[in-house]
């Protein structure tokens, strides 16, 4: 779910950069308004490492394979720190492994950043439920919903930027196949969020109070 260089038209790449810059400015603004903006940095650094490494973990979903993207976990764990963390992680992935690209860094940050912020909103409003089953459902919805939203954004942006010389039917079929391959990933990431939040709830509940 990382769009590389040379796939999107210039307008979409620039638009992606503009929206990503706006979201990052908003996030940094909210972080700066916190009583101790540095307090969240250790966790943001650790989650950036997890996000960076996760994209190399491929899960075979015949006929292709998908990799972990973790937007739900980033949003639920980091709150406003999620967007800068995702931006840094994506930049490292683009430069080191060619996952995504620098011209499409903005677009990719929007594809994963918006679901992360949505996950943050969901956990902030519903993350205080104490009943175990209800908490598990919220956690699952956060992780799975964020992946589905990211896939929807990815597909919509690709279809919007499809050049006229391509066989649109074949490309639509390929995008549909890729989106379907991400359904098991959504289940997996939903369970990851349930497991991580459940673990934190038992060991250090103060850590999951999203800011």
């Amino acid at each position: 779910m990382h769009i590389p260089d040379g796939i999107l038209p210039l307008g979409l790449s620039l638009g992606g950069w503009a929206i990503a810059a706006g979201l990052t400015a908003l996030s940094l603004n909210r972080i700066a308004a916190q009583p101790d903006p540095r307090a969240g940095l250790p966790r943001a650094a650790m989650m950036t490492a997890a996000f960076f490494a996760a994209s190399l973990i491929h899960i075979p979903v015949p006929p292709s394979s998908v990799h972990l993207v973790l937007p739900g976990l980033m949003g639920a764990m980091l709150g406003w720190y999620a967007l800068p963390a995702i931006l840094i992680g994506l930049a490292f992935q683009a430069v080191m492994f060619g996952h995504g690209g620098l011209t499409t860094l903005g677009v990719n940050a929007v594809i994963l950043g918006l679901p992360a912020l949505a996950a943050f909103g969901l956990t902030r409003n519903l993350g205080h439920v104490t009943q175990r089953a209800a908490a598990a459902i919220v956690g699952f919805a956060t992780g799975a919903g964020a992946v589905l939203l990211a896939v929807a954004l990815f597909a919509a942006i690709l279809l919007a930027g499809l050049p006229a010389h391509l066989d649109a039917g074949a490309e639509r079929a390929a995008i549909t196949a890729l989106a379907l391959a991400h359904l098991p990933l959504a289940l997996a990431e939903g369970m990851v969020v349930v497991a991580v939040l459940g673990f934190l709830r038992r060991t250090s509940p103060e850590m999951i109070v999203a800011r």
Binding site: A39, T48, G98, H165, L166, I175
Partner: protein, 150 residues
């Protein structure tokens, strides 16, 4: 009697023109072609991916489009325009570019493949370096926090 049948036949053949020709010839020869094989970085083959070949003088409109076969392969013969030909392979938002340089004599073809994959050791070291940097950052900002009262 016989000529009454043959004469209209000859006339009909003459009027029918080229469509009446049933002989065919195939000219054959060998040429220098460019063969590509596209893979994802997981090693999986890009089967049925769309290939666009761009001539040196027109990077906007493809000179040739096609599709890779089940083994991710595609073969084409570049035209005689000298310069750098670009080949893009893409499928569902993933893709890569490769370049082919055609010399002025039309025969000399040099191929510049897109970035080759990294070995697992390289990947592991890169991931470990970045993760270690993140751990260092985390520890640094942890130390900066005011000591909590015992």
């Amino acid at each position: 009697m016989l000529s009454a049948i043959v004469k209209p036949l000859i006339a009909a053949l003459l009027l029918a023109g080229p469509a009446a020709a049933h002989g065919a010839f195939v000219d054959m020869g060998t040429t220098e072609a460019v063969a590509i094989q596209a893979r994802y970085d997981t090693g999986a083959l890009m089967a049925g991916a769309q290939v666009s070949v761009f001539a040196p003088d027109n990077p906007a409109q493809p000179w040739l489009t096609g599709m890779t076969d089940a083994d991710g392969r595609f073969v084409f013969v570049p035209g005689d325009r000298a310069g750098q030909w670009a080949v893009q392979v893409r499928q569902a938002g993933h893709g890569a570019m490769g370049y082919v340089t055609v010399g002025t004599d039309g025969a000399a073809i040099t191929v510049t493949a897109s970035r080759t994959g990294l070995s697992w050791a390289q990947r592991l070291l890169m991931v470990a370096s970045v993760v270690w940097g993140c751990i260092g950052t985390a520890l640094y900002f942890r130390r900066l926090r005011p000591a909590e009262p015992a």
